[in-house]
Structures are given as C-alpha cells and as structure tokens.
C-alpha cells in the first residue's frame, strides 16, 4: 500500500467522523481539526489537504450555487433548494451570486451538475447551432 493510498484512506475516515448522517457537520469538522492539531500524525499537511478536498466535495454535493442576473426572490431560492433536495435525496442549501454576464435568467450548479436557464447560455447554444 502506498503512502498516498494510506493518506486518502485516513482522510476518508476523518470525513466519516465529520458527517452527521449524510451531511458534513461544522462542529464535527472543528473537533476533528482540533484533534489533529493536538496529535499531528505523519504527513500532517498532506493529510489536511486530502481531508479538505473531501470536505469540499461533500459540501459541494449539498450546496447549490445559484448565479443570476436580475433580482431573485427568496421564495424562488427556497423553491429551488426544496426541489433539488427532493431530487438528490439530501438536504441542499443554496448560495446565490449576482452574475451580470448571464444577461438574464439563472444558472444552478450542484456538484458536477449544471442547470442553466440564462440568456447567455441560450445565445451560446444559438452560436453553436449557427456555426
């Protein structure tokens, strides 16, 4: 077993300890980090990097980044979050960002999935179809 493999397995174990059910808990992550700080293992930095990557991936799975041009009501945001939570079977929180390059409409990114209903994406599709 190589050293990278050992670090990844250790990071996965830390991630499991950081989860409360299927969600990553901030308190548990804080506890894990404190424990690591008190008893730093070998390859401390590499382990923290691997742990950070796994946590980011898990957070991204439960976070929907909603980019929009124009005002987006909180009701619409909540409806999107509820819809996505129902679709993925886990609690999805939303993060909204104003993005004027979309011209109008919105784009939702959940982990690797993208839902784009913006004018800029429509124009991009139009350009692809004309080319």
């Amino acid at each position: 077993m190589t050293q990278d493999k050992q670090i990844k397995d250790f990071a996965k174990q830390l991630l499991k300890m950081s989860q409360d059910g299927s969600d990553v808990s901030a308190e548990r992550v804080d506890g894990v980090l404190k424990a690591l700080d008190k008893n730093p293992p070998r390859h401390h930095i590499a382990l923290l990097k691997a742990y950070l990557k796994l946590v980011q991936r898990e957070v991204a799975k439960s976070t929907a980044v909603v980019s929009h041009a124009g005002a987006l009501s909180s009701d619409a945001t909540e409806a999107i979050a509820a819809e996505l939570s129902a679709k993925y079977g886990r609690a999805i929180s939303t993060v909204t960002r104003e993005d004027s390059s979309l011209i109008a409409g919105l784009r939702v990114v959940v982990d690797c999935d993208v839902y784009d209903s913006s004018v800029s994406s429509a124009l991009t599709s139009l350009q692809a179809s004309l080319s």
């Binding site: 929009h68 987006l72 409806a79 129902a86 109008a104 004018v119 124009l123 080319s131």
Partner: protein, 183 residues
C-alpha cells in the same frame, strides 16, 4: 669466162688435192675440232649452265612473284568483297538499331506524354478538391464568425436594452421553469 681452179679441181674429183688446196690439214683440223669441243664443254659446263640455272631461278622467282601477285589480287578482291559485305551488314544493323531506337523513343515519348496527362489530371483533381475544401472551410469560418458577431451583438444589445423589470421577470420565469421541469 674463166673457171676457178678449185671448182675445176672438184669437178675433176681430186678430192685430196682439193682440201689441200683449201689449206685443210687433217691433223690440224682434228686438233681444232677437239679443242673446239673442249672449249665448248668448258663453256657449257662453267658458263652457260650457271647462267641458264640463274635464268631459270629468276624465271621461277618471277613466276612465283606473279603467282603471289595474282593470289594477293584475288585475296584483295575477296577482302574487298568481304569488306563491302561487312559494311553493308553493319549499315543494315545500324539502320535496324536506329529504327529500334526510334521506336523505343517514340514509345517513351508516348508513355511520358500519357504520364504527364494523367499527372496533370491528378493535379487538377487535387487542386479542385483543395479549392472545394478551402471554400467549405471559408464558409464554415464565415458562418462561425457571423454567428459569433450575431451573438456578441445580441448580447450587447440585450445587456443595454433589457430593462431591470424584464430581467427580473425573465429570471423569475427561469426559476419557475427550473422547478417545474424537475417535477
């Protein structure tokens, strides 16, 4: 007319007296005959015979020379005829070679001409294909550029001309569509 005494003596048959009257003395005559024979033999043996032998030898040489000349003449004629025959044969062979070379050259020229024609046709075909490909590429590039310009212009126009109210309405509509499409 007076008769000569000698004739008169012969007519008279007095042979002994007649020879004596001519001054012929038998012993002397015999000795002269013997001397003559000896001289004749000596001359024949030591003068005439070598001369005749030399003459015969020279005649033989002349005859051999003439014969040699005749032979040489015949050989020369044979050589000339052979020479003429060889020259004629060589001329025929040379003519044949020239004809063959001309035929080969004509074949080569014909083949080269055909190759040039086929090569030219191939080059023309490739050039036409390249022209067609370039035309398609140019059209594709023009289409892409036009599409890019249309989209860029539309984006700018929409960004400037779209009111805030329209933008909000579109965003809300997109949100509703997203929720509805998931259902």
């Amino acid at each position: 007319m007076a008769i000569h005494p000698v004739i008169f003596a012969a007519a008279a048959g007095d042979e002994g007296n007649l020879l004596g009257q001519f001054g012929v003395e038998w012993p002397f005559l015999i000795s002269q005959i013997i001397s003559f024979c000896v001289v004749a033999f000596v001359l024949y043996r030591f003068a005439f015979k070598p001369v005749l032998s030399t003459i015969d030898e020279r005649q033989t040489k002349i005859a051999d020379g003439l014969k040699y000349a005749e032979d040489m003449k015949a050989k020369l004629e044979d050589a000339e005829s052979q020479h003429k025959e060889i020259v004629q044969k060589a001329s025929q062979e040379a003519q044949q070679i020239v004809n063959d070379a001309r035929a080969v050259a004509e074949d080569k020229i014909s083949q080269a001409s055909q190759d040039a024609v086929s090569r030219a046709a191939e080059i023309i075909s490739k050039a036409e294909q390249q022209i067609e490909l370039d035309r398609k590429n140019m059209l594709d590039e023009a289409r892409s550029e036009i599409a890019r310009l249309v989209v860029a212009t539309t984006s700018k126009v929409l960004s400037k001309e779209l009111s805030e109210e329209d933008r909000n309405r579109f965003t809300e509509s997109a949100s509703s569509n997203l929720v509805d499409s998931s259902n």
